[in-house]
Amino acid sequence: MNTNSNAYTVIYTTLVVVVVAAVLAFTAMKLKPSQSANAKAETLRQMMSAAGIKSTDELYATKNADVLQLYADNIEQAYTIGLDGEQNGTLSTELKNIELVDNLKPQNKAIKENTGVTLPVYVFKSGVAVMPIYGAGLWGPIWGYVAFQPDHYTIAGAYFDHESETPGLGAKIKDEAWFREKFIGKKVEWGAEPAFKLEKNVEATGAENAVDAITGATMTSKGLNEALNVWFKAYEKHFGLGAFFGMLEEHEITNEEEE
């Protein structure tokens, strides 16, 4: 048979592509459940790491099934809010309905275009409330979770992840425990512009709503700064109001003490 004729070439390549497509579609279908179980557990690990349920290392050493159980044991409630800060939906805390990181991208777009957003808030039994962030790093998307103490302005913990930031530089937002630990105890200044800053020489100025950016990773730090502020702005009415009353209460208490 002439394997160099046009008709043969066209039929042959078509056949190869169809067979390959069928094989890939079949495997993708077969592996989908275990892949999404992994993705789900990964999301929960990051969220619980931010909320300080367990240390990051411990969470990554925990099996998927135990991570799901840990989440089920610790979650109090989960709901969604709009840009007005009002609750506009509830999220099931059942394990099958966990919001994956993939869902943050359309929300990020919705925030920027000011269309109907449903931003998730996760409240754990310890009173810690977790919100996600999402934005663009240098090479690809970056995202993460920021956890607040019950006063809604003191940061209880944070966890950041990225798709393809430079190893050894931008990737430090995920790899280095000291970076996320720097956020603990910092205070978000709701209503301020910007509410939170990644900049240099923070240790010298002692600013409460700022964290040192990463040396050598200017673009990743800028991206993270932007992501934090865009999402803090979106959550401002929700957390900001609670934080305002919280501060008021605190002041009354101190006033009483002074008297």
Partner: protein
Amino acid sequence: MDKKLKETILNPILKGNPITVLILGICSSLAVTVQLKGALVMAISVTLVTGLSSLVCSLLRNSIPMRVRIIVQLVVVAMMVILVDQVLKAGEGTYAIDKQLSVYIGLIITNCIVMGRIEAFALGNKPIPSLLDGLANGVGYGLILIIVAFFRELLGSGTLFGLRVLPAAYVPNNLVILPPFALILLGCIIWAHRAWDKDLQEK
């Protein structure tokens, strides 16, 4: 025949090592050798991809239209790479490593070793020798990867496979973690390899 088969298996690991002699696959050997775990997974992935792609292309070798053979080979290799990536993503233990290796698993398709072995060997040989040739080249590649990763993880983090080996007082060397050090190390391995095997030295 037996001797030829033995040659097929041993040559890519020693005398014809894809990295130290043919200088192929340098890119990924710089990128994924910061930790042994990642290097090991990468080595296994590349071995499977080269072996299976060579096998499939060898089976097809008499029917492939010569004019489009590169494209057909590319489709076969791409399929193998996607399969490996999907399987890694599905495994509970390998999910985190797959995330860490990120684009480099997908970039196996551009690894010159894979296409090189198909063009040079699989298209002219029977399926079984082709499979062995592909696997052996993957092992030769993986061996160097693991040697480089061993030194980089030991000196750069003080650990092996994530377990602490050097005392906590050891200050990790940051240069070792950066890609240039992999190149320096690779140069040293090539030097040692040529000093040991006199046949490789140019007259």
